[in-house]
């Protein structure tokens, strides 16, 4: 194997089509005879449908068909992860119908679908549908939904509780540890609800071909095969081999495009019904109501310390809001992706999380960039900085004192946490120390003291995070309730001329797979990158796949490709040995050449490829061809970690926070393309900082989202940020062949608490000893914190 490309900032292969306007997103696709769908949605959060009258709409020009719950309400989308109550009972899993016929449960719940000759006509007709609603009281807040007498989102789910759940040490042990503590920091806070806001709105085209009895679904998804599997096996009962799902260019996902949405099944059904393609593209206003949201935890956390500042225990009670229906991964997020991360980087000996997951009359909540891990990190890192302030010690020294010592996972074992996971490898002191060097900590504290006398306060906030990525071992997730495996598939097809087509089940929607994966393949095979094509996103061409989320593409999908590459090389060696008339043990494969060790006899990769397909001089008992497919199922999660430091300036007069510096030292294991990894970190930082300062879905008491557009939901803009200061440490992952850990979510996980901590630090520097400010830290909230 050569290292011509791996580790280099190779420019992206996919860019050319995007910078010239030739990207092909679902809404760009026009099929002959295509019709357009518009979905009529509930304006109420909770209401009984008394009647639906579509007659006027049906009579309108250009209307092809109108579907309602009466016709398709018996179909519903499933949840992909089963979690049980503490007492072992199965979670409550009410149906999520494609169109509602009895009772709407959140604003935006789908009631009818109009299919017409044009977008305009479909929308015009939808306005003519008359629906008589009986409005019911709604419940929005998770902690209030469990109270006696609260409105029931689903009539057969008592107290709106989907399930309760716990993880960690026995509660009594944690209670005892806290009772012995010399200081307890208590923090009650809300991890607010976020709208994912991938820039491309969701878009689907259903196409039914009655000649071949075959369905095609074009969808803006992160995992086409998973959508096909769910839609065929659990929703519509279609024969899977007669269904093709294509995820073409997808304009960002951040989790929100993992899930199987009702509209995917609706356009598929409608295309069969009318015999023409049906396209549905949501508007941004719809996206705010229907794309699964992220976070929404209400938490009380207590962290106890002994007199030396060592953490002795951590006790947490959280209500997680799941929304009105269970989205595909929703139940895994507050539990297995969150509770299992509460060890953080610390040796905390006793941990207990008590979690209640609740239905409300709101949009479904599911994984959003980081998914569960940002919630765990926010909780821990806010507690660490706040504890330091309360105890009058330095927040970095408090961390250094409590960090798990470095371990490589090879010569030293992994670190077994109290919350189920075993970390693979880590050097936590290293990233913090590097961060402090970059910050110039002593000078900062001097500048802060000076600033405290002015109207522009300075603050610094720290966050040392860990996450679990590269999900994951199928056996482990299966035992935890996942209803699917979480391996990945990689097929390498060497063409007769030595050019290579690689088929991956991972899906790229901005991550640069076409480049990074090609770098790995080109180096392993010793061929130019131009000779490698990465193909993904089409269930007819790619054997299978689980898709892209949880920073898993390279760690799992890349490893599957490496497995196939190893098989290619192994077979190539046999062919070479035969042609070179030597033992296969004498063949070595270096820089694209099969050499006979110690001689100048050699055959190029292209020669071997051609021989495999023109097998005239060929080993007996060896199949022709050079094409291998592999399934890779990891043996553990990967555990990237890092140190994020925010420096903020708070305007004392207005409460406005400005990010002055942001330092991120991340350890994501080995790096294939530093440029792309940096880009992933940048984007994650912007989203994480966005949560701290700008973003948040706001409901009124009737369940209306009052900021359901970019006029009111604050998206971070270019002038909200400085240039980010990045550095890296490399602790390879010991258990996958590339040694990579994943970088997609790191920025979003580490940054949020650093920013809140920095604002709190700024306020303490001027004597305002506040414990918490609710995110997003808007100017008014910070200003009010300074008035009390």
């Amino acid at each position: 194997m050569s290292n011509k490309f791996i580790g280099k900032s190779v420019k992206r292969v996919e860019d050319k089509r995007f910078i010239t306007g030739r990207g092909r997103y679902t809404d760009d696709i026009v099929l002959p005879g295509m019709t357009y769908a518009y979905i009529l949605r509930s304006p109420y959060a909770h209401a009984r449908i008394k009647s639906i009258d579509t007659s006027a709409a049906e009579a309108m020009e250009g209307v092809v068909t109108i579907m309602t719950g009466e016709e398709v309400g018996h179909y519903g989308v499933p949840c992909g992860w089963q979690v049980n109550f503490k007492n072992g009972d199965t979670m409550k899993e009410p149906p999520h119908p494609l169109l509602v016929k009895d009772k709407v449960r959140h604003v935006g719940d789908a009631v009818a679908m109009v299919v017409a000759e044009s977008r305009e006509l479909a929308q015009d007709a939808a306005e003519a549908i008359m629906i008589d609603y009986e409005v019911l009281p709604a419940v929005i807040d998770a902690s209030k939904a469990v109270e006696e007498g609260a409105p029931l989102v689903h009539d057969d789910v008592p107290n709106n509780i989907c399930f309760d759940w716990e993880i960690g040490n026995p509660k009594e042990e944690v209670d005892a540890a806290l009772a012995s503590a010399s200081h307890i920091t208590t923090l009650e806070f809300v991890n607010q609800r976020l709208a994912p806001n991938a820039m491309e709105p969701r878009s689907y085209i259903g196409q039914y071909d009655n000649v071949y009895d075959k369905y095609t679904l074009y969808t803006s998804t992160q995992n086409p095969h998973l959508i096909r599997l769910l839609m065929c096996a659990f929703v519509l009962g279609l024969p899977e081999h007669k269904v093709r799902v294509v995820g073409p260019d997808v304009g960002g996902g951040f989790g929100s495009k993992i899930y199987h949405y009702t509209e995917e099944a609706l356009v598929t059904l409608a295309s069969k019904k009318i015999g023409r393609p049906v396209k549905w593209t949501e508007t941004r206003s719809e996206a705010f109501l229907t794309d699964a949201h992220g976070r929404d935890h209400v938490t009380k956390a207590e962290m106890g310390f002994d007199a030396d500042g060592k953490i002795v225990g951590l006790r947490i009670k959280t209500f997680a809001n799941l929304g009105a229906y269970l989205s595909t991964f929703s139940t895994a997020v507050p539990t297995y992706l969150h509770g299992t991360l509460l060890q953080g980087l610390y040796t905390t000996p006793k941990i207990h999380l008590d979690m209640t997951c609740v239905f409300t009359n709101t949009t479904a909540v599911d994984a959003y960039r980081g998914a569960g891990r940002p919630e765990a990190t926010y909780l821990l890192e806010r507690l660490l900085d706040l504890s330091a302030l309360e105890m009058g010690v330095d927040p970095t020294e408090l961390r250094l004192k409590n960090f798990i010592p470095a371990f490589d996972g090879v010569t030293q074992p992994g670190y077994q946490t109290n919350v189920a996971l075993q970390y693979d490898s880590g050097n936590y002191h290293g990233v913090l120390q590097r961060g402090l060097e970059m910050l110039g900590y002593e000078d900062f504290r001097k500048a802060q003291a000076e600033a405290a006398k002015t109207n522009k306060l300075l603050g610094v906030g720290f966050s040392t995070y860990i996450e679990a990525c590269g999900i994951a071992p199928s056996a482990v997730v299966g035992s935890l309730g996942a209803r699917a495996g979480l391996y990945e598939v990689g097929q390498v097809r060497v063409q007769p001329t030595g050019k290579v087509s690689v088929f991956t089940g991972a899906h790229s929607h901005g991550q640069g797979h076409e480049t990074t994966f090609a770098q790995v393949v080109a180096d392993r095979l010793g061929i130019p990158m131009e000779d490698v094509d990465i193909i993904h996103g089409d269930s007819d061409t790619v054997a299978f796949g689980m898709g892209t989320y949880g920073s898993r593409s390279l760690a799992v999908g890349g490893s599957a490709i490496v497995k196939s590459l190893d098989k290619i090389i192994e077979k190539g060696a046999k062919i070479a040995a035969h042609k070179l008339e030597c033992s296969v043990d004498d063949i070595e494969f270096i820089d694209g050449k099969f050499n006979v060790k110690g001689t100048d006899k050699s055959l190029g990769f292209g020669d071997i490829a051609l021989t495999a397909y023109v097998p005239h001089v060929y080993p007996a008992n060896l199949e022709p061809g050079l094409d291998f497919s592999s399934f890779y199922d990891p043996t553990n999660f990967t555990y990237p970690f890092g140190c994020h430091i925010a420096v903020v300036e708070v305007d004392k007069e207005t409460g406005t926070t400005k990010i002055k510096r942001f330092i991120a030292v991340d350890d994501v294991g080995n790096v294939i393309n530093p440029m792309i990894v940096d880009g992933q970190i940048h984007g994650g930082l912007a989203q994480g900082i966005g949560q701290a300062l700008f973003e948040g879905v706001e409901y009124d008491e009737n369940g209306q989202i009052i900021n359901a557009s970019y006029m009111d939901y604050t998206m971070p803009r270019a002038d909200d940020f400085p240039m980010f200061e990045l550095d890296r440490q490399v602790t390879p992952c010991p258990h996958n062949p590339l040694g990579v850990k994943g970088a997609g979510e790191a920025g979003c996980i580490g940054s949020t608490p650093a920013v809140t901590n920095a604002v709190i630090d700024a306020l303490w520097s001027a004597g305002h000893k506040v414990k918490d400010i609710r995110m997003p830290l808007t100017s008014e909230r910070v200003w009010r914190a300074m008035q009390s």
């Binding site: 860019d15 306007g21 709105p201 960002g252 951040f254 989203q687 270019a718 002038d719």
Partner: protein, 158 residues
Amino acid sequence: MPKITVTVNGTSHTSEVEGRLLLVHYLRDTLHLTGTHVGCDTSSCGACTIHLDGKAVKSCSMLAAQADGSTITTIEGLATGNELHPLQEGFKEEHGLQCGFCTPGMIMCAADLLSHNPNPSEQEIREGLEGNICRCTGYHNIVRAIQYAANKSLVVSE
């Protein structure tokens, strides 16, 4: 229905359009220039930015009829033959894009900025992008891509 004549990327088109037809839909659906995207419905995200008579505008917030008689450039018309515009090159060289959805609008907006401020500071670039939202890049490399293009154009013009 109003009849309009527009010159798009150097080619003249005459079409009858519905009064309510938005310019972005005219470009995408009638002329099949799908590089111009729709990312929101409140004139906020800038994904639909094109040049109308040389100035960046949001094509989702105007009617096709309003463009009658105008010259339009879209992302598809920015390169000269196979030679990329310096901004297109900058976005590739500096990794100024990930999913690519906001990219055409970003590039068209940046082109407007550089047309009247050929050597902008970092702050001026950031402020110049206030009408464009990117969810992937954190803007860091978009700023660098525009700096790249500015530097390249300055070198060329010297």
